[in-house]
Symmetry: C2
Subunit: 456 residues, 2 copies
């Protein structure tokens, strides 16, 4: 509850039917704040508050509501009113909403919209989810090349109320091919008599309609754009993606890396699936794949354990340190993968630097291993009171395991990238599992070398 103090007053006004007072209350407020109030109220009161809003504000406020509230509010409206609302919404959000609404309801609403709007909705909803086409909007400003700035500004003034942004204007030829771009800033700065074709920038950064939404969003991020134009295969302008949508896309994609790192395959069908909208069977399906694969890979530890049965039989105390040693190896590996994946996802680690990274992580692992190894020796000798031989085996194993798991933790994601695999799928569990079997080998061979070969 973000507005706990306001809610009781607001509820009273709503239940008293005081439309004028309510309208005044929210009139000068950012639509995002009004949306918060609606979400914080009980559904019925929230819906009543929404109905008080003037039509254009409704479209704005709706765009800040969560999808459940959007669906509920729109589906409870009379068809004609819902159509009016769709008419005023930004085109990308309208298309997203229509995709979520009940089909029968949509069939009832669409006839109330103009043919051009129905076509627009149909086009925008037809793009493959996850592509630039599916997130772009069609309410952008287009200008011809051969008009003066004066006329361009005049057009902007007329078109502004219906456009997502008027700060970037796109210039197209008679085939609607994108040939240039001019910002409102440039328009304001130019002489009123200058021709658009003389002031427009011809080197336009653009995306393609079938391109991955993430790569389009990255262009917006990289070049600090307010919007990115999107063209079809014939270079015709078909939409724009705005900076705020790019931010949402990048947030989804980046937090998805945490999922992958935790060892969950992202859902290719809905790579923006919110926590609550996936069912438990969905979640189980996405997780069991990795758990099974890791289980089968982890199986490798069994023959290793069997193979070294005899040394454990001679020194049963070795067994006590097993979980701790393997756990530490997995921890060190996780740290390295986390660091390397982040460096790659921020673009800090370039392909040609791969070997420097491995060397650096190896060195880090060596330092960490020396420190932990020393702690291990002292711990086993003095706190657990075990013989020096066992203490040394544990210490050297820690050194070996840390160095090894740091090297593996750097090498594997870098190799994955080189092989064209998303390095973010190299999860913490993946590295722990890799380190488990090899960690056992390190432990037992160290024990054999120190306790049997040198001991005798």
């Amino acid at each position: 509850m973000r507005n706990a103090l306001l809610i009781p007053d607001l509820r009273e006004l709503i239940r008293g039917g005081e439309a004028a007072a309510l309208r005044e209350f929210i009139e000068d407020q950012h639509p995002g704040r009004t949306a918060e109030l609606i979400e914080d109220l009980e559904a019925e009161d929230g819906d009543a508050l929404f109905r008080v809003l003037p039509p254009r504000d409704r479209a704005e406020v709706l765009s800040y509501l969560d999808t459940d509230s959007q669906n509920r509010i729109v589906e409870s409206m009379p068809l004609r009113e819902a159509a009016e609302l769709l008419h005023l919404m930004s085109h990308d959000e309208r298309a997203d909403l229509v995709k979520r609404l009940d089909e029968d309801f949509v069939d009832g609403v669409l006839p109330h919209l103009a043919q051009a709007e129905r076509d627009d909705i149909r086009r925008l909803t037809s793009y493959e989810p996850g592509t630039a086409g599916a997130v772009m909007t069609t309410d952008y400003v287009v200008l011809p090349a051969h008009i003066p700035v004066r006329e361009a500004l005049e057009r902007l003034r007329h078109e502004a109320p219906d456009k997502e942004t008027i700060y970037y204007c796109y210039i197209v030829d008679h085939n609607r091919r994108l040939i240039g771009f001019v910002s409102l800033r440039t328009l304001i700065l130019s002489r009123r008599s200058a021709m658009i074709e003389d002031i427009m920038q011809r080197d336009v950064i653009f995306g393609r309609v079938d391109e991955d939404q993430e790569s389009a969003a990255r262009q917006i991020d990289k070049y600090d754009l307010i919007a990115l134009p999107v063209v079809d295969t014939s270079n015709r302008l078909v939409g724009i993606i705005t900076h705020d949508d790019a931010m949402d896309i990048l947030r989804q994609e980046q937090t998805e890396d945490i999922l992958k790192f935790g060892g969950v395959s992202p859902d290719p069908e809905a790579d923006t699936a919110p926590y609550w909208s996936s069912t438990v069977p969905d979640v189980v399906r996405r997780r069991i794949k990795w758990l099974l694969m890791l289980f089968l890979a982890g199986e490798l530890t069994i023959p290793v354990m069997e193979h070294f049965e005899w040394i454990k039989a001679r020194f049963p105390v070795l067994d006590d340190f097993l979980p701790l040693l393997l756990g530490t190896g997995g921890n060190a590996g996780s740290q390295t993968v986390g660091t390397v994946i982040r460096g790659m996802s921020l673009g800090e680690i370039k392909a040609r630097e791969a070997w420097r990274v491995v060397l650096r992580e190896w060195l880090t692992g060596l330092c960490l291993g020396l420190m932990l190894g020393l702690v291990g020796v002292l711990y086993v000798r003095f706190r657990k009171g075990r013989p020096w031989g066992i203490a040394l085996v544990v210490g050297l194993t820690l050194l070996g395991i840390c160095t090894w798991s740091n090297t593996i933790g750097a090498l594997v994601p870098l190799l994955a990238r080189r092989m064209g695999i998303d390095p973010a799928v190299i999860s913490a569990p993946f590295i722990s599992t890799l380190v488990d079997a090899t960690g056992l080998v390190i432990y037992f061979t160290t024990a054999i070398t120190l306790l049997i070969k040198w001991g005798s």
Copy 2:
């Protein structure tokens, strides 16, 4: 190398000293692309290309260069030229650059700047790193409330070249207190004779100068702003943060969650430390803390192993499955933490939903455990040829460990948040370590119950 085809031609033009041709080549290009070319060329050629640029373009291109190139290029310039460049740069980037440059060089350059600019640099560099103040810029547009739109547009035209953005204008009173906001869109749409005070929005969303940069960036994200005004403790307007900087901040913070999840404490001094700029001792220091803490927590496994020595002595084959079982528990826990942390960081999991989350993850763990348990039983019985008793112990342990680690994996980050601890520090290694000791208990008590109590 992003522009492999262009580089040889460009190099030839540069080495031939063909300034006019070079200028024409890059004239109409986005400054971000020119910056890419400079980075892809050898340092000397890149610097030469930079020197060909007209002054205002230099400032633009510089802002897209990586920090190493920025430092190198600026420090190799004559003092007067460097001052001219600083004069033309956006104020936040100028302050960042000055912080990085050699101190003696800065002392030489500053006297060439106007007093107001020196003051501006001093002010912007004085804010605590990580606060809104440290990332804001001071080149924004301010308008008085009592002028008509006509005059406001006239002012904008004069000020536009020196401002970071002219799309949002802020209205202040005579004490520079922020009292309103008007977008260029609203200005364009309003009658020329309308007064600013009548068209401005009075409910302005703003940040505070000492606020965390992440929370300021989140406002920009949440309300889809192009810029967020920043005020000091007396509500005086002191700067703005633009959408592109907000995107950079959020990317840094979100990818930082991967670091934490991997078990690395982020550096509080430099929470945006790039991969290469931290030294190996820095990295070791940041990682050893967690490794040691986890080592000490993992130590708990030793008494557990000792305590159950006797059952292992009676059924030595139990030992072989230990690494696999503990590994699987850690994997299932990692998946859950990853999912829950992501849900919280996207704001999908609200505080009041904590119990629903735990229940849901418990149920997921139960399903996963049933599936893995079944696989485990069949695997141990038929592939490893062990007796049904052992197979059942392994299967039931998988069921128990998966359910338990999923519950823990949901519970711990939710509890952390409730206690005001950043849930992202609940790392995959943290959960694996927690699960290790408890997993052993589950394994051995299952074995005792099935093999000793029921077996006899």
